[in-house]
């Protein structure tokens, strides 16, 4: 039996200044299929799907929906053809209710919005796919997982047959990921198609029916999931073996370098984001912070780096440093890689050269009389990009031309180059492909060998087991447990992340 694909893209090419993002790509999705789209950073996945969602126009190629050639000039046209995309950054209006967000901008939404009607519609969709949500709740009260559900309902309400999701699981808790996958399976059973972009191979193995792999803008492989495994997928993606880093936990623990006692930190909205955090950090160890995003990890790290005020005590080698400013902490050797890579960690429109001195531009070594000595700075930048394998086309180009992995290497390289004694890093491999992620972990493990104390906010529990010596779990602004990684389990950490008490878990 030969089925017609719901989506057929043929010979799609798309060029951006200086790169061929898609090069003669063919891509098909069949009814009820969960199709994973894989590839390294910059392989062209988002570009291809943005073309399908009507956001970009291809330079060449045709798109067929259910066998008919269509022009997808705008996201609206794509939606009319039954194609909807959910982006990593949700596009919801925070102050509106779930139901309002769902009808807003829908093609057939009534001019006057009738609340009961919408809520009934929402209810119907929710039940159909097991998407539980309160239609009257306001979006800003919802967790990221719930907001994602709103986005899905929004698409279904618009009659979407093909749902594209760009890295949907990066912001979810393990529990939410499970729920999402159940929803996707329910949708697939009812004949809807899902295209999933992700870097997490275990998820691909778990959920996908079919896989297409891109490299440098071309399709380099596609197959049914039964014929694949993680290592084959990796080889297809990066065309080489990736060596997985693994921490060696045979050293005796080093001396305590940082001692945090009853730290309280306020968040942007003025609430207590960190209610009480006490822990110590030793030289030559990696301590991971696990927890659902938004439980105070960001505020904790920012407070330690001196970017955010805090109360309570932070002792560095026995001396109180809670009152010290950012620069004083840098000069003590406390360095940080923020969660927001581009925008906080790096300045998007400034060059690699300018960005390489963001945290030490004021040092005398870069100065000659009144001016910054850009010859010296250039040499310094060249040193960083060489040592940390940053690929770039021109040091004078703005950094936002760099791919995610290269951004992170530049950022981490810049911080490591300042010889930290304490290194704080938030989600250092978020959004990076397998190879890039291993490069970053490799750098961090090397730092650990040098005796640097490392605090890592991580989301992937399996990574924690490979990389960390200890793990502190944060829940609602408090540390709900600190555990030796080789004496715990993913399940134990998982339950601490959602509020279980340490003792309760041990007894049970």
């Amino acid at each position: 039996m030969k089925r017609t694909p719901v989506i057929e893209m043929k010979g799609i090419s798309k060029r951006f200044p200086g790169v061929v993002a898609n090069d003669n790509i063919s891509f098909r999705v069949y009814p009820g299929e969960i199709h994973a789209l894989l590839g390294e950073n910059g392989a062209g996945k988002s570009t291809l799907m943005s073309i399908l969602a009507g956001l970009y126009r291809p330079d060449n190629g045709i798109i067929k929906v259910k066998g008919k050639v269509v022009r997808l000039d705008s996201p609206r046209k794509a939606l009319e053809a039954g194609i909807g995309m959910i982006y990593q950054h949700f596009r919801l209006i925070e102050k509106f209710t779930v139901a309002e967000n769902i009808v807003l901008g829908a093609p057939h939404s009534p001019a006057k919005i009738k609340r009961e009607l919408i809520e009934r519609e929402t209810e119907k969709i929710s039940q159909n796919y097991g998407l539980t949500i309160n239609p009257g709740a306001r979006v800003h009260q919802l967790s990221l997982g719930e907001q994602q559900r709103v986005e899905i309902i929004k698409m279904l309400y618009r009659g979407c047959e093909v749902l594209i999701m760009d890295e949907p699981t990066t912001v979810l808790t393990p529990g939410e990921v499970k729920e999402l996958f159940q929803i996707l399976r329910a949708m697939s059973r009812q004949g809807k198609c899902i295209v999933l972009i992700t870097h997490k191979l275990n998820e691909v193995m778990e959920i996908a029916d079919y896989v297409t792999v891109l490299r440098r803008g071309r399709v380099v492989g596609e197959d049914r999931i039964e014929n694949l495994d993680e290592s084959r997928l990796t080889r297809m993606m990066v065309a080489r073996e990736v060596e997985y880093s693994q921490v060696q936990r045979d050293k005796a623990p080093g001396q305590v370098i940082l001692n945090v006692d009853r730290l309280k930190v306020r968040g942007d909205l003025g609430h207590l984001a960190v209610k009480e955090a006490s822990f110590d950090l030793r030289q030559g160890e990696i301590m991971a912070i696990a927890g659902v995003a938004g439980n105070g990890q960001k505020e904790l790290v920012e407070a330690l780096a001196g970017i955010r005020p805090s109360s309570g005590s932070i002792e560095y080698q026995g001396e109180e440093i809670a009152h010290l400013k950012v620069r004083q902490r840098i000069s003590l050797g406390i360095n940080m890689v923020p969660e927001d890579r581009i925008g906080t960690g790096l300045v998007p429109n400034l060059s690699l050269i300018d960005n390489s001195i963001l945290r030490n531009y004021y040092k005398e070594e870069f100065l000659s009389s009144f001016f910054i000595d850009y010859k010296k700075v250039r040499r310094y930048t060249e040193g960083i990009v060489d040592k940390y394998n940053v690929y770039f086309s021109d040091l004078k180009h703005p950094v936002n031309y760099l791919s995610g992995g290269n951004l992170q290497k530049l950022l981490l390289g810049r911080e490591i180059e300042q010889t930290p004694r304490v290194l704080l890093a938030s989600y250092p491999v978020r959004g990076l492909d397998v190879a890039a992620a291993e490069d970053i972990y490799g750098l961090l493990l090397k730092e650990r060998e040098k005796g640097t104390a490392i605090l890592l906010v991580l989301e992937d529990l399996e990574d924690i087991f490979r990389i960390a010596d200890r793990v502190a779990v944060m829940y609602q602004g408090s540390i709900s447990g600190i555990l030796e990684v080789n004496k715990t389990s993913i399940e134990e950490i998982g339950s601490l992340m959602v509020g279980a008490q340490l003792t309760g878990v041990e007894n049970g």
Binding site: G306, G345, L350, R359, Y361, F371
Partner: protein, 356 residues
């Protein structure tokens, strides 16, 4: 079927950077031609007058420069603030308050000191006054997140009314037969001019400010901070920069430079404080700054173009074209210049292939 498409340029083309504005101005004049003809004027004659008035003789050019100088200085002033995404639209008021402070020095000390003392003093006073006018919204913004756009705009009126109050009242020249003018400044308080033209030392000052601005932003630590803070305040905090302090400092310097534009107008042109020392230079400067993309050297040239438009506009009125028509002409040029911006970033492509 051929299709017209706009494609983003891979790199900003330096040639387009020059050609596009030139073409824009030419197209504006083509449209202006039609407007003039419809209004019953002879376009050839009007354009001849416009050209002659603005650029046709050494005198015309000198007058164009005279108008361009305050636009240069005020344009540099606002572009510094704009670099940090601080919307200082108060250059007009800063010009007036600077003129007021400079006049105070000139009127009180002008008789007793030489130019080498009095002129720098006037400049310092003008800078300080303009700086305070910039600092008020700067402090409000830095500490309480009060929108600087509104405050700078409102302070414009405060400054203009202060000048009015003084020239109608306490500072009025007893011999002015009732006109709202201060007495004329002593020779020591007047900026030297070039030959017998009205081009004064302010031109050199504007160029020096432009060079300092360029070097300062591009090569000093403080300039680095301004670039980072303008792009990304959160990166600035991460780098340990003092954003609060710099908001105030930048607003202070921006206001101060605009204040100097006021000083050079009273000291170089009117030689007294009077009404209308700035016919909206502070506002035109905003357009000059944007068209120049906040690039200090481009500001010097764009300000010259705007000076020519102003001066040419006066000349045209002499052949019976109404003031409003000249304003329409100026508006058309502006419209085309701004609309032309898109062709600097995009290029037009005729594609013959059907794209699906």
């Amino acid at each position: 079927m051929a299709k017209i498409k706009l494609i983003r340029r891979e790199k900003e083309s330096p040639l387009a950077r020059v050609l596009v504005p030139v073409a824009s101005v030419l197209m504006a004049f083509a449209v202006g031609w039609i407007i003039l003809a419809l209004a019953g004027h002879n376009p050839v004659l009007v354009y001849q007058k416009l050209y002659n008035g603005a650029l046709g003789s050494p005198y015309a050019i000198s007058e164009t420069i005279v108008k361009a100088i305050p636009l240069m200085i005020a344009g540099l002033a606002v572009s510094l603030a704009f670099r940090m995404k601080l919307w200082n639209i108060g250059a007009e008021g800063q010009i007036y308050i600077g003129a007021l402070a400079a006049s105070w020095i000139a009127l009180n000390l002008g008789q007793s000191s030489g130019p080498l003392v009095i002129l720098p003093l006037m400049m310092i006073a003008a800078f300080a006054a303009g700086a305070s006018w910039g600092l008020i919204p700067g402090v409000l913004r830095a500490y309480w997140q009060v929108n600087e756009t509104i405050i700078t705009l409102m302070l414009n009126y405060v400054a203009i009314y202060w000048v009015d109050y003084l020239i109608f009242g306490p500072w009025k020249d007893p011999n002015s037969m009732g006109f709202p003018l201060t007495p004329i400044f002593s020779a020591a308080a007047q900026l030297p001019t070039w030959g017998d033209s009205r081009v004064h030392l302010g031109l050199l000052l504007a160029i020096i400010i432009a060079i300092l601005f360029y070097l300062g932003i591009q090569y000093t630590r403080w300039g680095y901070e301004v670039r980072v803070m303008g792009q990304s305040p959160s990166a600035a905090r991460y780098a340990g920069m003092n954003v609060t302090k710099n908001i105030m400092l930048v607003m202070l310097i921006s206001g101060g430079i605009a204040g100097i534009a006021g000083m050079i107008e009273v000291s170089g042109i009117t030689h007294r404080l009077q009404q209308g020392i700035s016919p909206g230079y502070g506002y035109t400067a905003i357009i000059v700054a944007w068209l120049s993309r906040l690039n200090p050297l481009a500001i010097i040239m764009v300000a010259f173009l705007f000076g020519a438009l102003l001066v040419g506009g006066f000349a045209v009125q002499l052949v019976g074209v109404s003031f409003s028509i000249t304003q329409v002409l100026q508006g058309t040029v502006l419209f085309f210049l701004l609309a032309g911006e898109i062709f600097i970033n995009y290029k037009i492509v005729l594609s013959h292939k059907e794209v699906l």
